[in-house]
Assembly symmetry: C2
Homo-oligomer: 446 residues x 2
């Protein structure tokens, strides 16, 4: 399918991070909520704002370990995704709820139970981003060495199969609860799972009824051949991290082919490309926002200067250059974009224009996702360009700071996308599968 048309079907997921934002010093900004990590009211408030903007789904990344040094940085993950989503499920009505859970460090029965319960209480809005977890700190929290990559992917396939099998054990119309006849459950429609994998076994049944979407759709985030295979087999949504439109387009094409190779429809897998933004009324205002972040992070800025040098083949340091100025022409002449980092091309182009080092960094060339620092129109332009190029089905958006970044996106960017006919003006239906436009599933289907 080509989507090269203004079809209003761009999908958007909002990354909730830990309650703050994707830039880990923005908790210090004026107006930011200092205790957002432990403040569930605030978390729910942000979710409601996203729902107001008809964002398709929230997304929570997670690793069961201390994610980063918290001396001066806010955390990468919430206290506990399950608790956050349970709260949000009760206090919103439409927005999807996708969270990350490890296939290496959870038990299929416990996870199947929790996710299906969340799916019930949210009326069919839950999704599971199934990740293998490659983090040694996480492994140590479970007292086991990290399995090798092949084993982890073998475990992932079994885990998802076990969970989906458990989900299917309770017949879709088994929950009778008829007070007249006294039949509570039609036990002839409740079956054992009897799942016997090499790594995971579970007997079942799991006594929880089907939600309006059947069962939570699977999301996937890992790269490589194994990630692609797992996504093609199970995923309704994929979080991808391409830095260029071309990479995104290629990744999306491969995902669609992988789905088809597993007997599924290509349209049943939707790609979300990671995207960050810092919004201002003007480009200058947006840059001021970034300068503030740099000011909060002098050490990181010094490291970024060095890394920026590496990206263009130069040895740069805050001790030897004035970062508020353009690079001297001599250095500019020596530059070349490093083939080792896909972000180098953009860094190279910006430095070549004579932009100061500080400004190049403020434009977000070293972020984990592509970044737009600018006006709402500039943000919308980026999304439109990738979307209309068939590079992605949508985006997983990361505000720099939650305290105004979500509101700004919803109130300033969403209306532009809607006016341009790129983004829906109302939710497609009631469930996450409705929003995604993917097929109903119940039990282990692939």
């Amino acid at each position: 399918m080509t989507i090269n048309q203004r079809d209003g079907k761009m999908k958007l997921a909002l990354q909730m991070v830990s309650g703050y934002g994707g830039e880990f010093k923005t908790w210090r900004m004026p107006g930011a909520v200092a205790d957002a990590y432990t403040n569930m009211d605030y978390y729910v408030e942000n979710a409601k704002m996203a729902e107001k903007g008809k964002i398709h789904t929230l997304f929570i990344a997670d690793t069961p370990a201390l994610p980063n040094d918290l001396s001066t940085n806010s955390p990468m993950h919430p206290m506990d995704p399950t608790i956050a989503l349970a709260a949000v499920a009760r206090e919103t009505s439409h927005i999807g709820l996708v969270s990350t859970y490890s296939t290496t460090y959870t038990e299929p029965y416990n996870l199947a139970r929790t996710l299906k319960t969340l799916d019930i209480i949210s009326n069919g809005r839950m999704g599971w981003n199934a990740v293998t977890t490659s983090n040694h700190e996480a492994a140590a929290n479970f007292g086991r060495p990290l399995p090798d990559r092949d084993t982890r992917y073998e475990m992932a396939q079994e885990h998802i199969e076990a969970v989906q099998t458990l989900w299917g054990t309770f017949g879709q119309d088994a929950y009778i609860h008829n007070q007249e006849t006294g039949e509570y459950v039609d036990m002839s429609k409740v079956e054992l799972a009897n799942y016997r994998g090499k790594h995971y076994q579970t007997r079942g049944p799991l006594p929880i009824p089907a939600s309006p979407q059947g069962q939570p759709p699977i999301f996937q985030a890992g790269g490589g051949d194994k990630g692609l295979e797992l996504a093609g087999r199970f995923a309704s949504g994929v979080y991808a991290n391409p830095f260029t439109k071309e990479d995104a387009k290629l990744h999306r094409m491969m995902l669609r082919k992988s789905a088809e190779a597993h007997g599924r429809k290509a349209d049943d897998i939707k790609m979300f490309a990671g995207f960050m933004f810092s919004i201002g009324k003007t480009k200058e205002e947006a840059m001021e926002r970034r300068y503030m972040m740099q000011q909060f992070a002098p050490k990181e800025t010094a490291h970024h200067v060095e890394y920026l040098g590496y990206m263009v083949g130069l040895g740069l340091s805050v001790d030897t250059i004035d970062i508020t100025k353009p690079l001297p022409q001599g250095l500019i002449n020596q530059m070349y974009p490093s083939p080792m980092d896909p972000r180098s091309e953009k860094a190279f182009e910006l430095l070549k224009t004579g932009m100061s080092v500080k400004d190049v960094l403020a434009n977000g060339v070293i972020n984990y996702h592509p970044v737009v620092v600018g006006t709402p129109e500039m943000v919308a332009d980026f999304l439109e360009e990738w979307y209309l190029a068939d590079a992605t089905d949508g985006f997983s958006i990361v505000p720099d700071s939650s305290h105004d970044g979500i509101k700004d996106f919803v109130e300033l960017v969403v209306p532009i996308l809607q006016e341009r006919g790129l983004f829906h003006t109302t939710y497609e239906g009631e469930t996450l599968r409705d929003h995604l436009g993917v097929s109903y599933e119940y039990g282990l289907t692939y």
Copy 2:
């Protein structure tokens, strides 16, 4: 300590079961909510009613398996205790939230994280009933044979130690989040757990701050020497199932001694005796309620007639006796209370009075806890008698049906207990530890 005085300190826990009640056919009663199992609004409503009655804590029993045949019975456990408590935590302000989690079938890191997060979002109202799980169906859901009892208790001690150690890894005043200075966490106060047991190992840290009560208190429910030992070591609350006042008194005394043997204060362990009730404005009205339950359960009633016979040394069957009549004098003369079942004495006494078999059963002689079928005064009398006899610190109450049983207890029984000076009229404080009157704890303290 003797509590033989009207000190207003009787502790009450409400068993939430699966959302219905402790009698598994009452979901059919007029006014009962047929889909209570999947209806989170209703679950929260019941929790609010309990809070209105100043009940100290909710209690959720749990086993990770299909708990019972659901053909005509409502379930014994909620869909997922964590999701239920997260919802209730957000929508109540004072009542405690105690749930059961297995020490055999959960991972310490995952559980520690979830419980501490619930403790944060409830402002210090969470408790953990740590059970070893002795159920073979549960074991099969995790693909492992059930460890023997000794091993399970060894695992339980390690699991609780691991969880409490993880809880203590994040210093009580480590969460700085000072926007001026930029210090987010004082990392010098964040330590590794490095817990290395035989069954469980975890490295930590767990990056979640202390709640107002430090960390969730531990509850314990298992019997026997090993249960007593575990309770004495860790528990702030114990769910006990004595059928007689004398057994309760003995159990409480042993719990207090066990706490002292572990270097703790006897008053830091509070016993909750299981108790069921069916309330009517008159004894007759209460009996009508029980007749309705019998009518919903003809097969169970037939089994109960046989078991009642066993309890008094008779072979009884619905085919050979008229259950609406007293037993013939000849049978009454042959009766003796079976020493094998502590409930036999009550059954024997009631049958001896010439009460019909049906009525003896309707009085709840075969229930899992002592039962009062009668007026609010009669319920209060029972609680008063045990409490003033130092037989227990309080009760874990189980309404026959949630749809009016919780309301009746709160509106009819609680005021009587308060008038008699047995029960508090306002919460002692803000946290579950405040309500229980037990010491603050943080980290592994015993």
